[in-house]
């Protein structure tokens, strides 16, 4: 099975994250790490490969320093990587990103494309749906479990009442969510880390993937950041002292905040 995992390098959520003052895009110059949900996507891809054979290719779109995310995915066990990197891609919004990635995916070829359901930087959560539409294949989103049987693919999607089982035929696009142990992403072993260095990383540009430059980059973006301000500091919490009426007070607080 030909499995492609899309991974993204994002600013580390544990550090202070900034927008660039010149064009309001995310500052990607420092502290890049692999997006957490992408690690889950890699793990699911590796599990599929272990069960059905085949090959796992990592696809990432991002600046040159995004190699950290690629190396992590390769160290976890992916076989090879394609790095779509081009100045012309800077500032692409979700729509143009999905276009660029779909062009790259057409070039690579795939039975299944797996991606995290959202990234910790932009948090749009739309890429899987957009990709599926662009590629003309079924989308199976927010998967907590993936099963493949021949050309049939099914996923579990967690709901309030249990889970939905959603089925489709390959090729397909799957987005995955966070899962508890033992489905958490593996930590790369030292052997994996050393082997990753020898795995092929193919660098491609806009022309290689036959991407129309008019449809990408800041100029082509449909969503535009007009202004931004720093988030207000978090207010003080409310302490409810239980004097026999703690439950009522807690409920009143939740009602006042429109949680219940």
């Amino acid at each position: 099975m030909n499995i492609v995992v899309c991974v993204k390098q994002v600013p580390d959520t544990a550090t202070e994250r900034k927008l660039r003052s010149d064009d309001s895009t995310i500052d990607r110059s420092a502290n890049g790490v692999i997006n957490e949900l992408c690690e889950y996507a890699v793990e699911d891809a590796l599990k599929l490969k272990e069960a059905h054979g085949g090959e796992v290719t990592v696809l990432t779109m991002g600046p040159d320093q995004a190699t950290d995310a690629i190396r992590k995915a390769l160290a976890m066990g992916a076989d090879k990587a394609v790095h779509l990197s081009d100045e012309a891609l800077h500032g692409s919004d979700a729509l143009s990103t999905s276009y660029a990635l779909s062009q790259a995916l057409k070039k690579i070829g795939f039975d299944v494309v797996i991606l995290g359901s959202e990234s910790t930087d932009a948090r749009t959560g739309m890429l899987a749906a957009m990709l599926a539409e662009r590629l003309g294949v079924p989308q199976l989103t927010l998967a907590s479990k993936i099963e493949v049987d021949g050309s049939a693919i099914s996923i579990h999607r967690q709901t309030d009442y249990g889970y939905d089982k959603v089925e489709a035929t390959l090729p397909a696009v799957v987005s995955v969510v966070e899962k508890p142990d033992p489905f958490k992403p593996r930590y790369p072993s030292f052997k994996g880390i050393m082997a990753a260095k020898k795995k092929p990383i193919e660098k491609i540009g806009v022309a290689d993937a036959e991407i129309d430059p008019a449809q990408i980059g800041l100029a082509a973006a449909w969503s535009v950041v007009s202004d931004f301000t720093a988030a207000p500091p978090r207010g003080k919490g409310v302490v409810v002292n239980d004097e026999g009426d703690g439950g009522t007070k807690a409920a009143e607080f939740l009602v006042s905040k429109k949680f219940i």
Binding site: R186, Y187, P188, S189, F190, I193, M194, K197
Partner: protein
Amino acid sequence: MLSEDHEDLRKTVEAFARDEVAPVIGDLYEKGEFPYDIVRKMGAMGLFGLPIPEEHGGMGGDYFALCLALEELARVDSSVAITLEAAVSLGAMPLHRFGTPEQKDEWLPKLAAGELLGAFGLTEPGGGSDVPGGMRTTAVLDGGEWVINGSKAFITNSGTAITGFIGVAAITGRRADGKPEISTIIVPAGTPGLVVSEKYSKVGWSSSDTRELSFTDCRVPAANLLGQRGRGYAQFLQTLDEGRIAIAALSVGLAQGCVDESVRYVAERHAFGHPIGHYQAMQFKVADMEVRAHTARLAYYHAADRMLRGLPFKKEAAIAKLVASNAAMDNSRDATQIFGGYGFMNEYPVGRFYRDAKILEIGEGTSEIQRLLIARELGLGGL
């Protein structure tokens, strides 16, 4: 300074310690429970096989890789780190270095995967610094079997549910010069005649397994001799020289953990209208802690570098172990002071660091023994 491979490994273990060890270890520590689940996860990551060749199920890395992993683990917790240190440097390494092909095939793959833990029994109730002077345990060949009698004290990893064997140093005869002949014999867990006592109640390293062992006509096949007969003394001298670098790395981790915690705390805790980090007395304390951790790290990097290059490293390893264990002790005392009353509470890691630091100046050669070794290397031994 680190190679890309080593830096990636360091970062991986750093994340593992933060995400998998830190959230659960406080509770295990207070209950004195062995961290089986963490050990299983470390096994899956290949940490127990770091310096073991791939043909024996290891990662094919080097001893320095092990040291980096130990440092990162000990930044968060020392019980977990010492479990790895003892299993690899005292358990698996002697087998890897001195074992017969059959012994390696039998044990190394399971040790490298962390499925079984190895232990090394050198210290006896009568003394740890003075070996063989304090050694009473004997092994006698009888009908194709070694018959072991005696006891061992303070043996790490010797009584867990996944303990595979204990390498037992024993007197196997007299040499021509009248001194005792020492050999190491592999005693599988559960061998009749081996009695593993209840775990000790310890001041620190609460989640690490430490036991007293007694051997009463304990019989194992003659083939369980590790390497050559009479080589036991040379074997454990080499094992301990390497092990000192590992203990130094672990000590640096603890010392660094104290810095990490203190830097955070002095910014958060307020007194007299300022964060306590505003006061120079606090800043200087933290600066001194950083200096100790940093210089001790350089000392163990240097010793490890010499070891990997095949250069003599006995003195450098002893220096690293001495300064790093001192740094751990000093930093944990300072960090506890910075935390004030909370430093004395088990809820905060620094209290655990304080309890865990002292043993570093004792185990695998006391600070006095390190000074003795350094003086000897300077040619002062015969004075």
